[in-house]
Symmetry: D2
Subunit: 438 residues, 4 copies
């Protein structure tokens, strides 16, 4: 990833170049300094607006500084509500748990326990596999091709991406990566292969503690698993004494049209991981939902200082009340998703790309990685923040706030089309030049 921006002067402050670590990444793709943000828009220091089709990688499903979530937070801080109380009981936590029970768990007849891990998705993954290993007494865990679950050592073991794995490779043990749904194309039934491998006592794959998967692989390129595949994984897991863990960090919180992404798959996982948008405001928060029979933690066995982010409890409770106390929001998202997927398919057809994804986690797959990067950059020049994903960054990922308006969405896609046109004609020109040269 190159970084051509000039620091200092009217551009970017020197301090980034001088003391921020080389590990910084998104800032290199969007080299402006953001100040304000509201709804579907970010604004740079000078007030220039950027339409957000990235949404904090799915952390801003309700948009930026969403009212009345913001108001609840303001009010809490104003009243000197406790900010930091580790995992003690607090009025803010009570409020969140009550809202979660009433708006989410009871209506869906789900009896999950709720674990507050440290406030990152990766840590909730760490907690989930630690618990599954404890419960089963087994070390191995099944993960899937192109899965992404985080970068701390335990979560990294589950993550497929080799550039993330590189420096920790010899430590990433006790995970077996198996082919995701349709990994070998639509004609190969990977579920059947996985069943054979795990029921064969001589396959060399040790009986696992858990199967960990995303129902839509966000970082993996908007790959979708079918209901039947998910069901077969769950049936197999239970047949061999393993737990199912659904990583709903990116696909959950309404992204695919339901609060939990598995609601239309016909399964109930044993553990569900949620983070990103759960706070409703982009504040660090994560949860592991655990079926009660597996909640065999000793007190404090998986601990950490920031297990209870009271500010996030306040915003999360407000979000649940605002968006999930009835079906209206879910219905809206599903309708938007249907429209959006139609438009994206049109674009795909028009430009020779493949449309992928589900809900409002959509993707356009390029055969040419360079074009994909060029489109992303051209979009940014035109005021649209959009990212790529997939093993070769070959999928342009469309991940707007769920609260985006029809016209904002159209504006965004218009920028995408325009970028595609530019890149398309530039490619054609290059091809013509190349032909002329021979």
């Amino acid at each position: 990833m190159s970084e051509t921006v000039i620091f200092g002067g009217k551009n970017l402050p020197d301090v980034y170049r001088d003391i921020e670590s080389e590990v910084r990444r998104y800032c290199r793709a969007y080299p402006v300094e953001f100040g304000r943000a509201k709804g579907s828009y970010l604004y740079d220091r000078l007030g220039r607006p950027y339409l957000d089709f990235l949404s904090g990688c799915g952390s801003l499903n309700y948009g930026h500084n969403c009212e009345p979530i913001r108001e609840s937070l303001m009010e809490y801080i104003l009243s000197d509500g406790v900010a930091m109380s580790m995992d003690m009981y607090s009025v803010a936590k009570t409020g969140f748990l009550t809202a979660l029970r009433d708006a989410i768990l009871v209506p869906r007849q789900l009896d999950f326990h709720v674990q507050f891990t440290w406030p990152t998705g990766a840590n909730a993954v760490e907690a989930a596999i630690k618990l599954a290993r404890k419960f089963t007494g087994r070390a191995n865990v099944i993960a899937f091709t192109n899965g992404f679950h985080g970068c701390s050592l335990g979560a990294l073991g589950l993550t497929g991406n080799s550039s993330h794995r590189a420096s920790s490779k010899p430590l990433l043990t006790q995970v077996t990566h198996l082919p995701y749904c349709d990994y070998f194309g639509p004609t190969v039934d990977t579920a059947a292969q996985i069943e054979k491998l795990l029921l064969d006592s001589s396959s060399g794959i040790d009986a696992p503690a858990a199967f960990v998967f995303e129902t839509v692989q966000g970082e993996g390129g908007a790959n979708v698993c079918s209901p039947i595949w998910a069901q077969r994984m769950q049936r197999l897991a239970h047949e061999i004494g393993a737990l199912t863990i659904v990583d709903d960090i990116q696909a959950g919180c309404g992204r695919t049209g339901n609060f939990f992404s598995f609601e239309d798959l016909g399964i109930v996982p044993d553990i569900v991981i949620m983070a990103k948008s759960i706070s409703g405001f982009g504040l660090p928060m994560s949860i592991a939902f655990i079926r009660p029979q597996y909640d065999i933690w000793n007190p404090g066995e998986h601990n950490g200082t920031f297990r209870g982010n009271n500010h996030a409890f306040i915003t999360a409770a407000a979000a649940l009340k605002r968006y999930w106390s009835n079906d209206r929001f879910a219905t809206e998202v599903k309708e938007k998703a249907m429209l959006a997927s139609g438009v994206v398919e049109n674009i795909a057809e028009q430009y020779g790309l493949s449309a992928k994804g589900k809900g409002l986690l959509l993707g356009l797959e390029f055969s040419n990685t360079q074009d994909c990067a060029a489109v992303k950059e051209a979009c940014f020049q035109d005021g649209l923040i959009i990212e790529t994903s997939g093993p070769k960054d070959e999928v342009l990922k469309i991940l707007p706030p769920l609260t985006i308006s029809r016209s904002e969405f159209d504006d965004g896609l218009q920028i995408v089309r325009s970028a595609l046109n530019k890149v398309h004609s530039s490619s054609r020109r290059l091809a013509t030049v190349a032909r002329a040269a021979t």
Copy 2:
């Protein structure tokens, strides 16, 4: 850890018993629901005050809802400042980095790069050892007896505590635990032993990527390393091509009287980990400080959604400006610490305990673990939140906000004395009963 509280009714909401995971811990020791907090005090729902000698395990060095930090945050939210922007450039981040450079790095002539890891100390530890392993191409890491560095898989490998390690044991590889300073008592020079082991090519201890240690072991029981020991570890590390990583999560941010706990030890570590109090407000935030020559990350190589918590940048910048723009605060803390340590030593002498610790991270070591637990519980009954630490929870840890007033501190210690008296006389009574019975 038992939990005798009755849920429901006028006590605690049912929702905790019904759906919060069994992993919850501190709430069992302090079974009330906290609402407001200010300065050195937490208040429960009914308004009862609790003096805080735990300070979010060191996350609230400036107390609860500290003004003017709170004001800065209010103002930011009011102006729709962006809350969530992953690791993009933002006005809030610029402000924090600038304050950090000007108030901390430049005056100390430290040339650290700053990595924003996910906002927990454990994750900063994960990042640090991953980077050290990448830089050296070595897998092994040296950690120390009674060290505590977190519960995600990589950090857990460094952590000594067996109850945390239990369910992940077979996965906790490539860490060698060696005896901390004075681990075998003051007459055994563990630095010399460590030197012999690591310079002997046949000791079986593989050349390490890094030495990771706390200068004061908070969870380990307020154990302190001497300057000479720290210097010898650093010299040895460099002699054998390893990095030094100081985990300053609990002992840093002024806790021992300087911003960095190593400032009076005569070393400059290659990487320093800071979390807990760095945000100044108890918001999730963590940092790895990295000497530039080791900052060989590829962009995004260690990533995660919540790498930039803008709310925390705002509060952290406010805290740096308020407390660290000159020497006044550090001087005050050192004076308080001197007084405090005198008082604690008095108490130790009076009650047959041992005084431990450094700065305002002090401890009273009991020979009898039950007594220690009883004192903690009696303190809570009298309105003082205080915790135990050490391998057997035999050390009562005194960890007040650094901003605590003289009279608040005295009030707290008075509660401790009173609890000691109660437990003392109860022990004596029991002993008398036991004698009478024989």
Copy 3:
């Protein structure tokens, strides 16, 4: 595995029951005490002959006490030839290496180096993967479903069998087990799947140091890989910078008709492991053949006391001279194998079994594991030593000495037919009883 034999008296000496470890296995299946052995026959203490269709699991390709191998050994011992000289140069070693070069390597234009590991196949596997890991600097190794490579920790990691893996599971790391040729049946091209997985940088399968496979999986149930599959594995390995290691412990030394089992597959592996029959006499000996560019060992880097078994050098040299100085023996074995495979297919057809295998490593696969065990036991009662293999011990393995005569082979198969008849009619009787009972 049950053991109904009565120890003591005219049966078996008490000393086995009293002090031999519970780990003993084959003796439980063939509970007699063997004394003499010659050619294709073992004789128990009382002189009763047993035809040997097991051949020391492939260690006795030239039969028991084969002349003139035995004579060479007698002569050597008589002359006080050095028995034990670690890896020093010795007249016996010179003789073996010279015979190997002249009879095997030169005619096949193979430029292998020869490493004498400790005298077991598993240790040669340990050496091979250690060397591949050293050469590539990578930890991961690709092994295959139903592969068997030994029980020491490194070799065990490659072995598929879960009962062998059970007690070491958490330590068996850095091996990825992929589906062997035809593992999912003849219509699924596992080579194509493996290519996709290993060329996808996000599959989660780390770049391997080596691919390790058997060309015929002896313990795995006489599964055979096709030439094209072997070639694609070799091409893929080289494309991604990995070595190919063929484990020829059971399938080598003429078992499939050529000295090396890969000779008719169109590949030349980077490392070949040979053990079992290499000594020609059943004495412990093993070899790793290494292409010179990979022979980057430091002197003594993989060492061990019994790296040079001079008695085995003498017998191995005699065997090479007797059987491999021209094509005659190989031709005979191929002819025998063709006949044998025809007969075995006939039996399979007649009794509703599947014929498997290659060369004189043949198998009859039962759909019913009990029947397979019953046939094995009935054979033993009639004086035939024969074993089962496969993940469920469902394959009766036909592994006679390569030197077996036509009539001996017919005698053996006659015993198998007779056992099949007995088991068949007993099954039918049981089925009739079962039907009558309903």
Copy 4:
């Protein structure tokens, strides 16, 4: 290790240079081709004798081609005794087990079970730690500084030597290396330190399955553990639920004056490993002795082709009958050892070296590694095979056959003295030159 020998011509056959692996080691130090061997002497192809102070690293305690062991073997082969029968019952095995029971176990009131592992010491170590891990359900194993237990992956984990560990480092997990007896010198009580570390639940050292140690570290430099240290290790192991495993591969079979090296230490280990000299003839053979309560193997759980080397059973039984049916041999060895140790101490004193070791496993420690190597080479020029050991190869190891005569031993030490004189005067000359040059 350099190799200056010229291959071909009247020197060494080309075939070694051409096709033997670079891993060969001892042959580089003793670059002649050995043919015959008898008693304490090896003879090269041309008949030149070499006195053997290495004894196959302890595999030839009864000397080369020892009568009547050789006669028993000849007779067995002549009668077509079965050579290879895996782990079936055989007349040869019966004979060995009976001799072992009668000559060794019964007189010492030891109730060990006997496991025949594959015929190498390392494999017996693999078996022992696998069994301890199975029995305890724990992964970690305690090994000691400078211990040497073999080079297969499991055994290598226990081995201290970094040059052996180098290429497998990231895979050598679940072993904690602790300081051996007197590792930090005679004033530091390492047993007390080990007790503290293992009884501290927060030391970071996981509860182990076993303690594995040598009573005299042969490869580690002839380091000796005291009876009290061994007893404290055994007591500690049992207190924390771990097994003790004594690796008696080099120190056992009479080397220290008793059959088992632990007989004068006041302990009975839970598992004892024996190899090297157990066959009495230098043939590959090894044993794990297991206290019955720990013999929880499933049949075949740790298997391998060469688990029963019948030739070795014959020679081992003959050796037990000849040397261990009464106390005479043990008494002789002890007397020899006493004399030998006196002489070696004299030499040490005379040449400024340190005398080390126990029984007939003695060592002379040099402060200057170069001198040690030079003495070894000078000895070989004068017809004495002698090796170095210790972390820097700084200890000249004196390991003659136990059957060596007084005059042979004196001859050998005379060669050592003479070599010391040469090296001494050469060092002095160099020093003089160096002084003159300044």
